[in-house]
């Protein structure tokens, strides 16, 4: 056999060996990766959040350039800047998050105001129609009001606490006497619908009487919370380490790519990075604009600035969940409008008694503004996803991961859509398929 043939034979054998090695390695990596994902599923969400934060804040880090500072120090300075901004933002928000006393007060006020509105509605019905409409409204809305009352009613422990706060407790100012009156009025609220009598079946012999079965607290609850907390410690760590990364992670992954796909993988990674970055930052800007518009609108309606900003921030954040964000903004806004008192709208001619209606109109206007102006200008065509896909993705997200799943459903769909489209386009451009 000649030397040339021998060499070719060896090369062929080497290629076969290489293929077997790569296949075995890939299979082992897949199996161990799958096992780790299954076992460490608690870490997935913090890792995703940490990566997303690093991704979103990367332009801030990249813009923060001081020629004479080393890279690590520049990153550290940009982290400090981001941290200071976030600290002040959270500190401002924290002031408007209701404490225990305010929560009890809000519940009492909301229950009282809702009942007052309901009674007002029933009483306002015109005389000649009252015979036909009143029973209908009482039949339809009455049970709903009963359920609302049941949900908002304070339990015995909360009632004791409210009365303590009413007299001044824990170094806080006593609750206003008006709200204490609301509390007593709420205690006297009866049911709007009289329940039909259900025949009571005799208790089986030997069963304990008058003792409701109480579920035993899960033994591992404390440990699970501790695990979750320690898992969430990973998010800031990932954020910091990805911030310090100077392209090493990308270089590592590119080094694994076969030569044939080297330029292709660089282009695909870059286009994906660009598209996803534009989408995520666009969504963040859109949420900010929605929150700002809502907060400004609420301020114009006379709602105190702190509360308006808090509702704006919360609604802006939840705006990332299509449809549901608007509904939650509506519930929070109208909920506050119902309990708000002594409100003087900055726009002349508005009746303060119809604040809930104005908030409803405001939320609709902001939603339309978001659809017509913010989304097309800020996001462009980056988020062109069919509404049906959006609905299915949100439901699927909520089934898999609850609220977080709903929040990440659309970004995931956009990322997958962009990745697949870019990948196929580049594969065709590079004549691989």
């Amino acid at each position: 056999m000649s030397n040339g043939q021998n060499f070719e034979e060896k090369e062929r054998e080497r290629k076969i060996r290489r293929k077997i090695f790569y296949l075995t390695f890939a299979t082992l990596a897949l199996i161990s990766g799958g096992f780790l994902i299954w076992k460490l599923s608690i870490l997935i969400l913090p890792i995703i959040v940490g990566c997303l934060l690093a991704f979103v804040f990367r332009p801030v880090k990249d813009r923060f350039r001081v020629r004479w500072l080393p890279h690590e120090l520049q990153v550290l300075c940009s982290f400090v800047a981001i941290g200071v901004v976030l600290f002040f933002a959270f500190n401002t928000l924290r002031k408007h998050i209701p404490d225990e006393q305010q929560k009890l007060e809000f519940k009492v006020r909301l229950q009282y105001k809702l009942n007052a509105r309901y009674r007002q509605l029933v009483a306002k019905l015109p005389e000649r129609k009252s015979n036909a409409v009143t029973p209908l409204i009482e039949k339809e809305v009455g049970p709903l009001m009963d359920k609302v009352n049941q949900a908002l009613a304070l339990d015995p422990k909360e009632r004791d606490l409210f009365l303590k706060y009413a007299a001044g407790y824990n170094g806080k100012f006593p609750i206003q006497s008006k709200f204490v009156d609301y509390f007593w009025a709420n205690q006297g609220t009866g049911k709007y619908v009289i329940p039909e009598k259900i025949p009571i079946s005799p208790a089986p012999a030997g069963a304990p009487i008058g003792v409701a079965p109480t579920p035993a607290p899960p033994a591992s609850e404390g440990a699970s919370l501790e695990n979750k907390l320690s898992a969430w410690m990973l998010a800031p760590l990932i954020f910091i380490f990805l911030g310090f990364d100077n392209g090493q992670i990308r270089r590592f992954f590119i080094s694994l790519v076969p030569n044939r796909y080297f330029e292709l993988s660089l282009t695909v990674l870059d286009e994906l990075d660009d598209a996803i970055g534009r989408y995520l930052r666009g969504t963040l800007l859109e949420c900010f604009l929605v929150g700002l518009a809502l907060a400004l609108g609420l301020i114009l309606l006379g709602i105190p600035m702190g509360i308006a900003v808090a509702i704006g921030v919360l609604s802006g954040l939840l705006n990332a969940i299509p449809f549901l964000g608007t509904v939650i903004a509506l519930v929070i806004g109208v909920g506050y409008a119902l309990i708000a008192e002594n409100v003087t709208p900055l726009i002349p001619g508005l009746n303060p008694n119809d604040l809930a209606l104005y908030v409803l109109i405001l939320v609709v206007i902001v939603h339309v503004l978001d659809d017509v102006v913010f989304q097309p200008f800020v996001l462009g065509s980056a988020a062109n996803v069919h509404p049906l896909v959006v609905v299915i993705a949100i439901i699927a997200g909520s089934l898999i991961m609850g609220l977080w799943g709903m929040l990440f459903a659309i970004p995931t769909v956009v990322v997958v859509k962009t990745a697949v489209a870019t990948f196929f386009k580049e594969l065709k451009d590079y004549r691989i398929i």
């Binding site: 392209g247 270089r251 044939r260 080297f262 330029e263 660089l266």
Partner: protein, 180 residues
Amino acid sequence: MSARKFAADKLLWETLGRWKRSSPELDRIQFLKTVPFFDRLSNRQLKRVSDIMFERSYDADESIFEEGQPGAALFLILDGKIAIEICRETSTTRLAVLERGAFFGEMALLDDSPRSANARALELTRTLALYRNDLNGLMHRHARTACQIYRSLASMIGDRLRSTNQLVQMKISAETTGLE
């Protein structure tokens, strides 16, 4: 200082010096210094360029890029030999064989227009690749370094244009002389 301490210090510095000289990063910078494309850059600037480059190894007869593919990176030859070829339906024309220190695919630094020829390794070859968007990123971070590279690229394209013009002029004058 005692003679013993002086000898120990000398040994330490010599070891450190040897270690530094043999580091792959320094080797790469030393190599980049020899490439005309980067001859205007200082050591510090070369380090920045070296940080964004990818090292790739190609087997003999392995394709680096093919004609018609969108260009994304410039390649520098660290070791080995590369053939630049144009394939037609019936034949393959070899335009050049490039060796250590040479570079190819430089037009990819300007845009993603299709490659005008095939590049194939003739033997086991190591290359350094500079990706277009990484150079664009360098422009935002270290504008002076990126400008120097673009300047080299512009002057190289100018040289080629001049030589192409000369060739065209020579051909025209030859045709004119032939006609007369």
